[in-house]
């Protein structure tokens, strides 16, 4: 897990799989998307709890961005897509 301000998330994720995120008590929405792309998906998550959210499909080695908060308080963490283990 890696820590941001009010967000904890795995450093890697499998494309099309799911990823565990944990946000602070004041946030209840997580956005996730491919860095450099235009699409993000939004997921409601309970504060202070580990929650699984789906990971978008992307090539191994691609970078995703997980975001919580709004406006200037938005925090971002990068997650690397890895190939699924055989």
């Amino acid at each position: 897990m890696q820590n941001g301000e009010g967000i904890r998330v795995s450093t890697t994720a499998v494309s099309g799989g799911s990823i565990t995120v944990n946000v602070g008590p004041t946030d209840d929405v997580v956005e996730i998307g491919v860095l450099g792309g235009t699409a993000t998906t939004t997921h409601h998550v309970p504060g202070d709890k580990d929650t699984l959210i789906p990971v978008p499909s992307a090539e191994a080695g691609s970078l995703l961005v997980v975001m919580v908060g709004k406006g200037k308080r938005k925090r971002r963490i990068v997650v690397t897509i890895v190939a699924p283990t055989p």
Binding site: G33, V34, L35, G36, G37, T38, T40, G61, S62, L63, V65, M67, R76, V78
Partner: protein, 162 residues
């Protein structure tokens, strides 16, 4: 024999001459005033010409940093064009994510991506260098044509960063 009156015209009185010392002082003061005025005008003209040259060199920067009415875009443009490169490198994720998602068609922001790419390549001891290099390469690859036109040539080198 008749005597005709003869009128002798007295010479007109000469205007009083300025004493030599006063004339010298007056000429000196005039010269000094001219020198001062000329110097000031020359300095002003020179400064103006110099400013024109500088504006010419940075004309794009000035135009691009004019307010768009969107505070977020203005901040991104400042980071892209004007901010110290260290500041841009520190805010790399914010810059890359927001510019590529919300302002893909902005013509100024690719300059920031290019600055960042050059900085990564020129700074071997940059913290999280490999991650930032990969992120920058990915943003360029997924970017619009005008971004790729400007920065795609850095991608192979960015991908080789270890």
């Amino acid at each position: 024999m008749r005597l005709e009156p003869v009128y002798l015209v007295a010479p007109e009185p000469e205007p009083p001459k300025i004493p030599t010392r006063r004339a010298f002082l007056l000429a000196g003061a005039t010269f000094a005033a001219g020198l001062t005025l000329g110097g000031a005008c020359g300095y002003a003209a020179g400064s103006s010409a110099n400013t024109s040259v500088q504006t010419g060199e940075g004309e794009d920067d000035v135009r691009e940093l004019e307010s768009t009415g969107n505070a977020e875009l203005d901040e991104l443009r400042r980071l892209a064009v004007k901010a110290p490169i260290e500041e841009l490198a520190e805010k790399w994720l914010y810059f890359l994510q927001v510019s590529s998602k919300d302002y893909r068609h902005d013509e100024v922001l690719p300059r920031g991506v290019e600055r960042l790419a050059k900085y990564i390549l020129a700074t071997p001891d940059l913290d999280q260098r490999k991650l930032i290099a990969n992120a920058t390469a990915q943003v360029i690859e997924l970017g619009e044509q005008h971004l790729q036109d400007r920065a795609i040539r850095y991608v192979p080198q960015l991908r080789r960063v270890r």
